[in-house]
Structures are given as structure tokens and as C-alpha cells.
């Protein structure tokens, strides 16, 4: 029912618009990408760049297909626990790793930054998962991470979990914001 012909005839009908939104929310590919595939988003870590134009960046639009999609986010939620992300970051509140549900993003809080953090690692303890977790799954995990601070549409964010409640479900959290480079771990700055 998500065919383009339907799209053509039903543009004026509200109901169909909703149905369409729901389709995108659930859209998925049935054949996953090959392990070697890697997206090549060009994102900077800072808003600062010499000259008036700001940093030169290039985004392919992949972000939307993950962070506005309930299926991808749900997969990310499952993988987040599967790859032991919760061991360090809890259910978003953090632990030995920083919290992910707040608005402070040491290495940038856009999904492309989070993908990079997972893939490349970060110098204060975040391991690099390149070659260990398929790229598609990294995007799914990153999309779920974005949902923790409700930086994704409400309709795509996960609802209440079946097991012990760590707090209100992602879906019930107020929409979040992102403060990039909000904090550098104090211990990163070695005195002397």
C-alpha cells in the first residue's frame, strides 16, 4: 500500500498522509548492506572554521532514514544492549561512559557524529567498533542513541520497555536539544 501510484492519487486525503508517515516510520530494507559498506558522511566536530561560511560538510541524507524510522531505532535499541553499550552508558544516564540522554555532546550530537564515535572510537575511552559491528547496525544504534534525548520524532521513539523501568520511555521524554562540544572530560587535560 506504499506504492507510488497510491501516493499519486491520494495526496489530498489526510488519512493517506498519515498512512504515508506511518510507512516511512516502518520502512526497511529486507536485504542488509554488505559488511564492508561504509557511509561517508563529512561532518566536522566544531562550528568554527576560518572564513565566513563555517565548516564544509556533506551529508547524504542517510540520517533521516534511520532516526525517523521506528524500525531502525527499535533495532538499535536491541543492538545497544547486545553490544554491551548499556554496560558503560546505562540506559542513557551513563556510568563509566558519559550519559547519552542529556544535551551535552563532547564529540557532537548529530547522528553522523555518533556514528563516527561508535565507528572510530574517541580518545577518552570510547572503543572503536569498526569491523566489529556492521555499518548499518552502527547507524541503528546511533539512531537509538538519538532517541534517548528525544532528538528523533516522537512517533519513531521507543515506547515503554518490558523489563525493569529505568525511567520514562524515550517516547514520553520531551523533545531534546543538542549542545555540541559541551564538555571535555576534565581528566583529559593532563596538568603540566
Amino acid at each position: 500500500m506504499c506504492s507510488s501510484s497510491l501516493k499519486a492519487v491520494a495526496a489530498s486525503i489526510l488519512l493517506t498522509a498519515l498512512a504515508l508517515a506511518a510507512c516511512q516510520r516502518e520502512e526497511r530494507e529486507f536485504r542488509s548492506k554488505s559488511m564492508a559498506d561504509e557511509t561517508e558522511e563529512k561532518v566536522s566536530l566544531v562550528p568554527l572554521s576560518p572564513g565566513p561560511s563555517g565548516p564544509a560538510e556533506q551529508r547524504s541524507g542517510t540520517a533521516k532514514t534511520y532516526e525517523e524510522n521506528a524500525y531502525q531505532i527499535a533495532q538499535g535499541q536491541r543492538l545497544y544492549a547486545w553490544f554491551n553499550c548499556n554496560g558503560c552508558h546505562g540506559n542513557g544516564g551513563g556510568g563509566s561512559g558519559p550519559p547519552l540522554m542529556d544535551d551535552m555532546w563532547t564529540y557532537g550530537g548529530q547522528i553522523e557524529h555518533i556514528v563516527q564515535s561508535i565507528r572510530e572510537g574517541r580518545p577518552n575511552g570510547m572503543p572503536s567498533f569498526r569491523g566489529k559491528v556492521p555499518d548499518e547496525q552502527i547507524w541503528e544504534i546511533a539512531a537509538y542513541v538519538r532517541s534517548m534525548g528525544r532528538n528523533v520524532p516522537k512517533a519513531a521513539a521507543p515506547g515503554r520497555r518490558d523489563d525493569m523501568s529505568p525511567g520514562p520511555a524515550e517516547q514520553r521524554r520531551p523533545p531534546g536539544q543538542v549542545i555540541d562540544g559541551g564538555q571535555i572530560p576534565p581528566s583529559a587535560q593532563m596538568p603540566q
Binding site: 548499556n86 558503560c88 563509566s96 550519559p99 575511552g125 572503543p127 523489563d163 596538568p191
Partner: protein, 582 residues
């Protein structure tokens, strides 16, 4: 507090640990018996109210400050959390200025495999050198005069989750250290290094075949459950022992008369007990080992097949006491299970195990078999949240050491009052990532407070007095011959307490919450000083030191649920405070 004449004598400090009265504080434990008692008495119950700041010093790092400030001669040594900078302060000059600093430059990535903040429990001094461990699993020897590195040895691999946080203990020509990482499925070990070269002399694992554990003909455990071949393999599902935990990150004691080193072993991995049927030897217990060879002599398991993250790494205080009419050499261990164990340190026999924390997880310890009696209704099962487990996964007390005063015969136990809800999840071993398999929410135990500072009668196995604290007491204790006992609180108070009554005689609000170890010394001017590092953190304080989000109760392995308010009372810090009388 007048004692009847028929009372048996107080437990005594063994002669090898009798304080030499030199006014120094050279190892965090103070002495091999780990009494943390100083015979200095200038500061007493009458004048302690006049204590004032002598000097302060910033460690430059705003993480949990768990180290003990040491004093050797006219120099004080302060070790910061990661990046583990060692500072030497010149006590002979006004204001104790910096003499030198040594920076081992540990790998930054090690922060990612440190389970519970990037703490360090302090250096140890011996033979003109300071020895300490670094977060990226190195042991270092530094010239105490000049700060020059003598040797630095890599002992573990952070890619396997191995880190180091403990204070070494120097015994004869060996420096003994162990590994952290019980939340990362690290297979625990303890290792003795040559003091001169840092080369390995012996290494003993906490799980696996007898050969690896250094169990041989001289291993004579007291209880039958510890007898048999290769129990470090047989009490695990196939290969489970290889990521079975039992890390050695806590306190070491040493009896020179018996030539035995005592050390704990950490919780088994994963925390979720369901995937590891069996007793999971040799985790969550206490080993006595020959100091020269590392050979095991006895073992006692405080938590066979641990259910709730219990760990044997708490301090072991070595005392001599009369027990049922006979003199005994004992080891006192205020355990994570909630019991104060009094163990014969020659044989490993448990003489007494009395509770010092609200209990629902266990009902007692059977002294016939040595076995803890678990409450079956608190046993984790899949797909159900088990509620009201006391004590919580932190244990009734955690790393922060008690102090014993031979003057009062009492053990001063800093501890928590915490319970938890526990939901088991499927653990997934990936080297270098956490291996827990449980979601936890901690909350205050009966009474609503989360910390206690208790004076404990070892013989009777009961509390004489206790001071309730709003937050967990995560600092160590210090006892002095002035009958003043010191400890700190997570909301930043450094307190002096009457050793006999528990009356708070003096308190000072430091710059941050306190999770450190107070020490005392006689300065070059002949006066008594008291030192404490302030700077909140550690597992309990990571909500502040790690900027954690209080909306997630399961954060920091469930500690955040209990500590939501800590951000409202203290910020991060890293400052040495030293006090003296006017």
C-alpha cells in the same frame, strides 16, 4: 564505657604491626595488619574542636580522590586519580610547596574500561621508593627523593578490560599488585614483582586450573567445599572461568610471622548468576598465600556462586585475640555480604560472622560448613525483577577501609545502607566491554539514610554506636591514640568523632565530597597533622564526577537511582586538605 573486670582483654594489634611511634604514614594501611591506627595523640577529644586548616593543595584532577596521602620524613606524597600524577610536597617549608611531580602518562583509552570512576587507592612507600599502579595496568617505581622513574612494567591489557586501581603492598623484596576489571569479565590475578626491576616473580590467577591459581600440596582450606582438584575449572560451566572475574583490586595485608599475604578476590563474571552454575571458585573470597612463592595456603569463599555482585576485596585487619578462652591470630573482614567475618588467619576457619547491615539476601553464615545461607526468594531469575535485595550490589561496604583502635578495641566501619531491585538480562561476553547481565536500581535501606559510620565490637559481633549519614559513607576511617576517629562524607564534611561515644567533636566542610582515606602524621615541626583528599567520585559518586543523568535510575550500575540528589550538594573536586591545632 567502664568495662567489667571479667571482660576478656581487647583484641590486640600483632607485635609486627605495633606502631613504631615515628609519626609517619608510609602505606595506606598504615601497617601490615591494616589497622589504620596512629599512636599520635596531640589531637585529642578535648582539643580537636580547634582544628584548623594548615594548607591545601589541588591535585589538578576532578575525579574521585580515593588515595591516602602518605608522609615519609619531611615529604608528603599525593596520588591523583587518572592520569595518576604523583606529587611530592615539602613539609619542611611553609605551605608545603611542591617538590616534584611525576606523570606516568597512562593511556587515555583506559578510562573507557574503568568500571567505577578512574580512581586510585594510593601509593606505597618502601626502601626509598614509591610504588603505585596506573589505570592502564602498569606498576611503577619512583625515587622518593627525586621523583625519577626507576621502572615501569606493563601488567595488563586494556583491550581485555584490565585496569589497575589498587595500592601495592611491598613485602620484603617484592611489590605485590593485582588487577581490576570484575565488571569486564577479566580473569583476576595477583602478581609479585621484584622491587628493584619490576620483573615478575610469581603470578596467581583467581580462576582456572590449580597450577594457575598456585594451589598445590600446601593448600589446606578449612572447609570441605574448597577441597578437590581444579575447582577453579570444575565449579564453572565449560570455559566460564576464562572470563570469570575474581579480580584482585582491593586491600592486602601481610603477617611476617606466618609469611602469609592475605588478599580478596572479586565478584564472578558476569554478575547475573544464571549462566554460571557452580560455586565459581575462587571468586568472592579471601586467599592466604605464601609471600615468597604465591602458593595458596587457604581460601574462604564469602559468596559461593555469588548472586548479587559480592566481592572479597574489602580490607582484612590482622589482630590477636582471645577466642573462647584460647589465643587466636585472626583476620577481621567487614564483608560485602553484610557480615563482619572473624577468621583464624592460620587455618581459614570462620570463628564468627555477624551482620552489620540490614539483610534480606542472606540469613546467616553456617559456621559448620562456612557456607552463607542465601534467601532463596532473592535469587535472580530470568525475566523477573527481584525487589528489595539488601545489601545492594555495592555490598554492605565497599573498598573504603575500616580502622581499628587498640585503645578502645573497636573496629570503626564506614559503610552503606543500601538495597536494590535487580532484573537479570542476558550477558554477552565481548572482551573489553562490560560483562554484567543485570539491571539494577539501588535505594536507601531501612531508615532512609544511605550511609553509616559504626563502632563495632569484634568479639560480641555488635555495633556499639553508629552515625547515620544521608549519603553512603565512601571514605576510609582513621583511628588515633587521641581517641579521635576521622572520616568524611560524600556531601563534603570531614568529621572528627569521639572513639568511645561516637559524638561528633568537630567537622569541616571541604571543597567537594569526600571519598578518600584520612591519614595523620607528625610534621617536621613536631606537631600532629591530619590529611584528607576531597573530591567526590568513585562508583557511588560517579553521578557527579562523571556528570551522569539522574533520570536513568540504572545508570552507574544502578547507583544513580540512590544518588540523584548528590549533584545538589556537591560539585567535583580534587583538593588535599591538611589540618592541625592552632
Amino acid at each position: 564505657m567502664a568495662s567489667a573486670q571479667t571482660d576478656p582483654p581487647h583484641p590486640a594489634v600483632p607485635s609486627f604491626a605495633a606502631s613504631p611511634g615515628d609519626g609517619q604514614w608510609t602505606i595506606p594501611q598504615k601497617n601490615y595488619a591494616s589497622t589504620r591506627f596512629s599512636d599520635l595523640s596531640e589531637i585529642n577529644t578535648e582539643n580537636v574542636k580547634n582544628l584548623q586548616v594548615a594548607f591545601t593543595f589541588s591535585t589538578g584532577v576532578n575525579k574521585g580522590q580515593e588515595a591516602a596521602p602518605l608522609v615519609v620524613g619531611g615529604t608528603m606524597y599525593v596520588l591523583s586519580p587518572y592520569p595518576n600524577i604523583l606529587y611530592a610536597l615539602d613539609l619542611t617549608r611553609p605551605g608545603a610547596p611542591l617538590k616534584w611531580q611525576y606523570n606516568p602518562k597512562p593511556a587515555s583509552a583506559a578510562q573507557g574500561v574503568a568500571c567505577c570512576d578512574v580512581v586510585n587507592r594510593g601509593p606505597a612507600f618502601a626502601n626509598g621508593r614509591l610504588f603505585f599502579t596506573t589505570l592502564d595496568a602498569h606498576a611503577v617505581a619512583v625515587n622518593a627523593e627525586t621523583g625519577e622513574e626507576i621502572w615501569k612494567t606493563k601488567l595488563g591489557d586494556i583491550n581485555r578490560g584490565e585496569t589497575m586501581t589498587m595500592a601495592p603492598l611491598v613485602v620484603k623484596d617484592k611489590v605485590i599488585v593485582g588487577v581490576s576489571g570484575g565488571q569486564f569479565g577479566v580473569r583476576g590475578w595477583i602478581e609479585a614483582l621484584d622491587v628493584d626491576t619490576g620483573k615478575s616473580i610469581w603470578k596467581a590467577y583467581s580462576t582456572g586450573p590449580d597450577q594457575d591459581v598456585k594451589i598445590g600440596a600446601n593448600f589446606k582450606p578449612f572447609y570441605d567445599s574448597d577441597k578437590g582438584k581444579d575447582l577453579g575449572v570444575a565449579t564453572w560451566p565449560a570455559d566460564g572461568w576464562q572470563q570469570g572475574g575474581g579480580t584482585v583490586w582491593g586491600w592486602l595485608s601481610y603477617d611476617p610471622d606466618l609469611n602469609l599475604v592475605y588478599h580478596g578476590t572479586g565478584n564472578p563474571g558476569p554478575w547475573n548468576p544464571n549462566p554460571r552454575p557452580g560455586d565459581n571458585k575462587w571468586t568472592a573470597g579471601i586467599f592466604a598465600r605464601d609471600a615468597d612463592t604465591g602458593e595458596a595456603r587457604w581460601f574462604y569463599q564469602i559468596a559461593p556462586h555469588d548472586l548479587h555482585g559480592r566481592d572479597g576485596n574489602n580490607e582484612t585487619i590482622l589482630l590477636d585475640m582471645e577466642w573462647e578462652g584460647k589465643p587466636r591470630k585472626v583476620l577481621v573482614h567487614p564483608g560485602q555480604t553484610g557480615f563482619v567475618y572473624v577468621i583464624d588467619r592460620v587455618t581459614g576457619e570462620v570463628l564468627s560472622a555477624k551482620p552489620f547491615h540490614a539483610l534480606t539476601a542472606a540469613t546467616g553464615v553456617d559456621l559448620e560448613t562456612g557456607k552463607i545461607q542465601y534467601s532463596s526468594d532473592k535469587e535472580p531469575v530470568s525475566n523477573r525483577v527481584i525487589r528489595d535485595i539488601c545489601p545492594a550490589a555495592s555490598g554492605a561496604k565497599n573498598w573504603n577501609p575500616s580502622a581499628f583502635s587498640p585503645r578502645t578495641g573497636l573496629l570503626y566501619i564506614p559503610h552503606v545502607n543500601l538495597c536494590m531491585d535487580w532484573g537479570s538480562t542476558e550477558p554477552n561476553y565481548i572482551a573489553g566491554t562490560p560483562y554484567v547481565g543485570a539491571e539494577i536500581r539501588m535505594f536507601p535501606g531501612p531508615g532512609g539514610h544511605m550511609g553509616e559510620f559504626s563502632a563495632w565490637d569484634i568479639r560480641e559481633g555488635r555495633e556499639l554506636w553508629t552515625i547515620n549519614e544521608r549519603f553512603p559513607v565512601w571514605s576510609g576511617a582513621l583511628a588515633t591514640a587521641g581517641d579521635v576517629v576521622f572520616y568524611g562524607t560524600m556531601d563534603g564534611w570531614f568529621k572528627a568523632v569521639h572513639a568511645r561515644t561516637g559524638e561528633v567533636l568537630w567537622q569541616f566542610r571541604t571543597s567537594s565530597g569526600i571519598v578518600g582515606q584520612p591519614t595523620t602524621y607528625r610534621g617536621p615541626d613536631g606537631r600532629q597533622y591530619v590529611a584528607i583528599l576531597s573530591g567526590v567520585g568513585g562508583w557511588a559518586g560517579s553521578i557527579v564526577s562523571g556528570d551522569l543523568d539522574p533520570r536513568d535510575g540504572t545508570a552507574a550500575l544502578g547507583f544513580v537511582n540512590a544518588m540523584r540528589d548528590l549533584k545538589n550538594v556537591t560539585a567535583k573536586g580534587g583538593t588535599l586538605h591538611v589540618f592541625k591545632l592552632p
